[in-house]
Amino acid sequence: MKAKRIIAVFLIALMAIPMFASGSSEAKATAAGTPEDPVTIELWFGAAITEAGMIPDDWVGYEIIRNELGIDLKLSMLPSSESDQDMRIQATGAGNALPDIFMVRRPVLVNLVNQGLVAQVDDCFEKMPNRTALIYDDDAIRNATIDGHVYGFASPGAIAKNEGLLIRKDWLDNLGLEIPTTTDELLEVLRAFTFDDPDGNGLNDTYGYGAFVETDATLKGYPGSRLWPIMGAFGVEGLWCFDAPNQGLSIYKPEFYDFMVFLKGMCDEGIIDPNWLSYKKDDFRAAWKQGRFGVMYEQNAAYAAEANYAPFDSNFPDGEWVIIDAITGPDGHASIGAYDMNYRIYAVSQRAADAGKLDKICELLEWMSSDEGYYLLGWGQEGVNYVFDENGVPVAGDLGDNAYTGSKGQVYTQLRNLVFYNSDVELTSRYPTYTCAVSGKEMSALVALREMQSKKWTNAVGSSTLPTPSADVQRFYDQSLAEFLSGAKELTPENWAAFIDQFNKIGGEAWNAEGVAAMEADGLVRE
């Protein structure tokens, strides 16, 4: 009996352990913040090159940061997928064990702020004058503002308007067709690409349009951004519409139904790659490199960067993609897509602020934007990982594998997203002009980017700050549209009205109202 009692007490004591482990831990900064007694700052960052490894322990930056700032920097790389990142951050947050500073997406940041886990940083910008001038403009600060307070440092993420509508020019030439400018012309081209053997191989193995479902909860509503040029022809690109009097979810616009009818027609005719609903991003990218379809919406670097274009160049030395203007729809609408400013937010945990680390974190960020920090984090060590060309642009030169572009050198630039702000120097360095190995063509992802940016886009800046729906509403939205497209639900005006009605009932109307209120409060509605 005694033994059983002891075991029972032991088990109960073990079960009670978490009581002492959660919710009450507060780290205290007792260090002096000198090289001899540095303050430890734990930073969870989003890697610049997800497929490359972690920054090595012998990175010279650790020593510089310790000696110059009195900071012992502990780095940890976040997972590459956004949902895995979200899970890791939120699970750590649930244990009240967030690192001192960490990258976080805005929807997750909102959750953490509601939990009181993130520190306000309103007063930090004046402590980082150089970095604030370079990176934190009003839009950036607004992106990390929740209920009137700033809860993070938002720095520019992916370049805006960096995607475009591309068409196989060689296929057009083979079939004697012109570049389409209207939806009717587009349909003709897609039909010809599907049924008229545009590559001349004698096989029925091509399709007109290629895509995959790329969505998010703030900007890219179902069926996603890869269909934006077609949605743009109907004026329903982007999840939210900011133009009065139609401000609100684009799904409420009558033209959304017209777009659905158009897209359903493409599916029924078989002129869109039927795999598009099953493809993941990598499958889609493998498919266009294999010559499977002739029209697509793609990102500049994914299309034109040397490593990405090489397989297509090898498979089709005579193949040629060209970036075209937005397609004009029946009512005169035309847009390549909707753009928002993309930011990477770095938030400071309340634990770190309580431990008095906020000033040291500001010091660290300000140093990162100094010349020394900028080049070290962006390109590595001069002479080891990069050299300056005659225009003052860092280039790989003949540094081989140790260059910032090489397999050994690239790991030293994993923190570059903390300092880059899409300056001309960065873009020129990131997207150099090159000659294709097989076809001998001259290519540049930067030229592609500039051309894509010059097309007609729809301003949707502020989308990322709008509310996101509950999981049930999100599922209903996505599932219903998908079922209309797959034919599981017949696409008729009556069924569409019934869908909108049910959508409103389960929370869509409230989501829309909340979004419109947020738009109006932030002055995002355009008259």
């Binding site: 088990l11 073990l14 079960m15 009670a16 352990i17 978490p18 009581m19 959660s22 919710g23 009450s24 949902s83 979200d86 899970m87 939120q90 699970a91 947050g93 649930a94 244990g95 009240n96 997750v108 959750n111 953490l112 509601n114 939990q115 009181g116 886990l117 193995d205 399709y207 479902v213 179902y222 790659d273 039927p274 795999n275 609903l277 099953s278 993941k280 499958d283 499977r292 309340q350 509950s470 999981a471 049930d472 999100q474 599922r475 209903f476 996505d478 599932q479 549209l481 998908a482 079922e483 497209l485 797959s486 599981a488 389960i506």
Partner: protein
Amino acid sequence: MEKGQTTAVTAEKKKQKSKLSREIARHRSVYLLALIPMIYYIIFKYVPIWNAQIAFKDFKAVQGVVGSAWIGFENFKEFFNSFYFWSLLRNTIMYSVGKLLISLPLSILLAIAIYECTRPVLRKIVQTLAYLPHFLSWVIMYGILLTLLAPGDGVFNDILKMFGGNSIDFLSNTKAFPWVVLFSDAWKEMGWSAIIFIAALMGIDVSLFEAAMVEGANSWQRVRYITLPSILPVIVTVLILKLGTILDAGFNQIFMLYSPQVYSVADIIDTWVYRQGLLEFKFGLATAVGLFKGVFGMILVLFANWISKKVTESALF
């Protein structure tokens, strides 16, 4: 007399204790081996039970498990009142029961086939090929399935088209998708699940088969009257244990394979919890659902055990 009785009881206890100590000392290697899983279960299964209380709380990380406010059954109500609750429950049970009905008989058949195979080389090849998919992640499996089932150029659809049929988008068709889930799971796990049955088959007395052969029993009769009855207790045990996880329909598999087109037949409790609970920072809700699943599973296990004891006289406990 009373004192004498007490002394006798104490002496008996000491004797038992010393007997237990001797037994432990004698089989110390076995006890040491058992210690490792016991420690695992204590740390990772029993200790976290404490945190299950957040199922009844409005969990705030800064307030911790103990400090968060009690809210009764609100988290459970949110789950039960979800717009998709019945659809989630239906899909979850459909996949769990379906996997049980398809995978279990296939595993038994495979085990018997491997056991009955008289060519050692062939047996080893089949065994290895059957185990192999178990070690592939669902990410890899998705790639393989896409190659096989894609509507444009998937192998299955190429065959369908060759015979004049129309292609089917297996991964985004609500009628085909459940079968893809069930059979891909069977393909992946059949070999691994067969191990336990092969082990049970190895334990059958060979003389039974010899006697049956002398009596003129053919292969099918040997399987029917010797093999299957001999491994019945193992089948019952596996079945009862599987019932305990009836509401675990395979998160990784569904999460990789599903898409909005097939949400109506693909969304299960775990994928909903992932979206609504974990990604929305509703850990109380996620815990409530976990607790519900655990209690539901336990009731099923107890019930199945009771039925099994009544009907087959073979039970887990």
